[in-house]
Amino acid sequence: MSVETPGVAAKLEEAMLAPEADHSGMSSALRRNLSSPWATAFVIILTILWTIPTLGLLITSLRPSELASDTGWWTVITNPVFTLQNYSEVISGGDTIPGGIAPYFINSFVISIPAALIPLTLALMAAYALAWVPFKFSNAIFLGIFALQVVPLQMALLPLLQLYNLGWFGLPSLKEMVQAIPVLGTWVWPAGGTSFVPMWISHTMFALPLAIFLLHNFISQLPRDLFEAARVDGASHFLIFRRIVLPLSVPAIASFAIFQFLWVWNDLLVALTFAGGTVATAPVTVYLSAIKGTYGAQLHLITAGAFIAIIIPLIVFFSLQRFFVRGLLAGSVKG
């Protein structure tokens, strides 16, 4: 069975163009409203105000430790002394900090990438099913998932920890199940050690309600004609999902992926609870909070570490930002 039938292809093309048309109409109105000189001035001032603290952090990260702790960053104007020493200390480790940042940086990747991809995949399929596969109680299920967003994740920390380490209702725990896998098991979860598995699963659980809600709103707004034409042509759900839903949902997928990646990258609470503080699994946020050390703030090192940690979110954001606004608008406002 082929989907390359002229009917569907034409509709697809039409659908891909349609949002653009909508979009330009809306944005021209927006542009009119935002292009008054007052609005421009306001936005510029706001941007400057919002950037000043970050600028302060950047300058502090480049100052020698003594100056950074004794004087405010604005004194660089009269006393411009800069050094890269803080960065090299954070990268290679020193007496007062727990080793270099590199292994924690890698841990952050190992945690964040699966913790963004897994919920994205599950939520996409769930959203499609809830939106376009008619079955009993689908609305009730969607409502239930939507409602789950109000549950604070802090409430789930302890029960989840028990599920992972002790097991519920006398059933084997996640740890035992993972470790029972031959060869791989104890590599993924060493005995007496920590593992990335609980991190991936926890972040997936915490992300799913919002992910399904956002993607459902987007996918359910795709033109009905498309699906009908595809079904007439004999396409299965899987084929529709792969050839129609996926390509059309790229903005929503990208925006959610950014959201989730940034959230996981910046997370400290879940990491402290499930990944612990050892270099084997702790992400960069745990490392940053450790830099302070026993004797209090090491401002120059924390800021340097923070700027290293910020690089990845910035890359992710700027490379995907063109999808970001579109995806957000599509998920919520449209319709």
Partner: protein
């Protein structure tokens, strides 16, 4: 309240990852015997002779969870490096500034560390009631009997079972002063309570306010003032009343405890004496405890009552400060008040609590309570142990040496920081808050003490 060590900052570890990865990779090879590359601890190494009694446990691992962070972490790790080498035990260190919140969560979640360094005996009691801590082995008890003032063992004991051996200690009965200024003005270090207040009057007459203080400490604001009350109660009433006060058999509003509050009123809340360098006595409530001693260096303030760990604070005021009897800054012992209460000392410390009773964990517990470990750790600097097996000359800095001298004194009336032993609602709650109000609002002794009593959980 407790040691700032526990509330500053955060975490992490040394070169464990490499070891883990190596061990893991070894396991994923062909399915044959892969007992990983544990150091084959041959007892032929002469350096290992001292460690032979702990046994040999190649390939085993002991995890530690604590609130103590770098740079202290590195000193701990180096002081048990030889132990690791000789016994084959891999000690995995994890520090977190979220220790108090994380530990109960981990225990309930089935993810308890093998060993935790707990700074509050009150928390130890709570954990024992909930289940988790394992009784200390006989070897540890024997070490504690041999090396510590008996009061320490009592704080590691819950319901007649001994759980936790003391680790580090700090000495809170100190008064910081500037030997330089004292020499210039011809002041003598006071050795009696009365002499200390004669000196205060003399300073006031010379135009130097004698006392500075600060009790602001974020969410724990008020704790330094609870220490002042504790010093006074122990000095005026002795150890028995102090213990009854902790168990609330003696109320805050009783005449004995109110006497301490009244003395404090004439001392730190006396406008003639305080708050030097900052303003009126109300500023005590708003001054950060870390900053409180700063005016001493510029001779604007005469004295500050604060614990031994405050030594770490001075270099942040003045880079090349010398802390010595003839230097910029030093401390003297806060004098006793009554002759029949010898050398009252209020102190704090951590307790080594085990949550597993595997032989390698017990061997490590025994090592941590030994004089071998304490001496090595003390030699690394900036740390005091109340372990009397440590020779005093091991201490490299004068303030640690002075602390150790008092902490290991077998005749001293040693008591643990009371607010760390009271129920958390009081010891980490109303006691702090009311002491803050005592200074910030000039709340009366009667109203302050009654308010704390009212908050005591029934």
């Amino acid at each position: 309240m407790s040691v700032p060590v526990r509330r500053r900052s955060a975490a992490i570890v040394g070169g464990v990852a490499a070891a883990l990865l190596l061990a893991a990779c070894g396991g994923s090879g062909s399915g044959d015997n892969t007992t990983s590359a544990a150091p084959s601890s041959t007892n032929t190494d002469p350096a290992c002779a001292d460690y032979a009694s702990y046994g040999s446990y190649p390939g085993t691992k002991v995890t530690i969870f604590t609130s103590i962070l770098p740079p202290e972490q590195q000193k701990f790790e180096s002081s048990w490096a030889q132990f690791e080498k000789c016994t084959g035990i891999d000690v995995v260190y994890e520090g977190s500034d979220q220790f108090e919140a994380q530990l109960p969560t981990r225990i309930q979640g089935g993810n308890a560390p093998d060993i935790a360094f707990i700074p509050q005996p009150g928390l130890l009691q709570k954990l024992v009631q909930q289940g988790g801590p394992k009784a200390a082995p006989q070897t540890v008890a024997a070490n504690v009997d041999q090396f510590w003032n008996p009061a320490w063992k009592a704080y590691g004991t819950v319901n007649d079972t001994f759980y936790a051996a003391p680790l580090g200690s700090n000495m809170k009965s100190f008064v910081w002063y500037s030997p330089k200024v004292f020499a210039e003005k011809g002041y003598e270090v006071p050795t009696t309570w009365d002499a200390m207040f004669q000196l205060s009057d003399k300073m006031a007459a010379d135009g130097i306010k004698p006392w500075c203080g600060g009790i602001e400490s974020g969410g724990a604001t008020g704790w330094p003032a609870t220490d002042w009350i504790e010093q006074l109660v122990l000095r005026q009433q002795g150890g028995d009343v102090y213990d009854q006060w902790i168990s609330h058999e003696v109320l805050f509003a009783s005449p004995q405890i109110q006497e301490a509050f009244t003395t404090l009123e004439g001392w730190m809340r006396n406008p003639k004496y305080a708050n030097a360098g900052f303003g009126d006595t109300k500023t005590i409530a708003t001054t950060a405890f870390q900053d409180a001693g700063k005016p001493i260096l510029s001779a604007k303030c005469g004295m500050l009552q604060q614990a031994s760990f405050y030594a770490a604070q001075w270099p942040s005021f003045k880079k090349d400060v010398t802390i010595a009897e003839d230097g910029d800054i030093f401390a003297f012992y806060l004098p006793q008040i009554k002759a029949d209460i010898p050398t009252p000392i209020v102190g704090g410390g951590e307790f080594v609590t085990a949550f597993a009773d595997r032989p390698e964990v017990q061997a490590f517990q025994a090592y941590l309570s030994s004089d071998t470990f304490a001496t090595l750790k003390v030699a690394a600097g900036g740390w005091v142990s109340a372990n009397s097996g440590v020779p005093l000359e091991t201490y490299t800095d004068p303030i640690s040496q002075l602390s150790a001298k008092y902490l290991t004194d077998a005749n001293a009336t040693f008591r643990f920081d009371a607010s760390d032993l009271m129920p958390a609602q009081v010891g980490a709650g109303s006691f702090w808050k009311e002491m803050t109000a005592f200074f910030a609002e000039n709340k009366s002794v009667q109203a302050t003490t009654e308010a704390i009593d009212a908050s005591w959980p029934s």
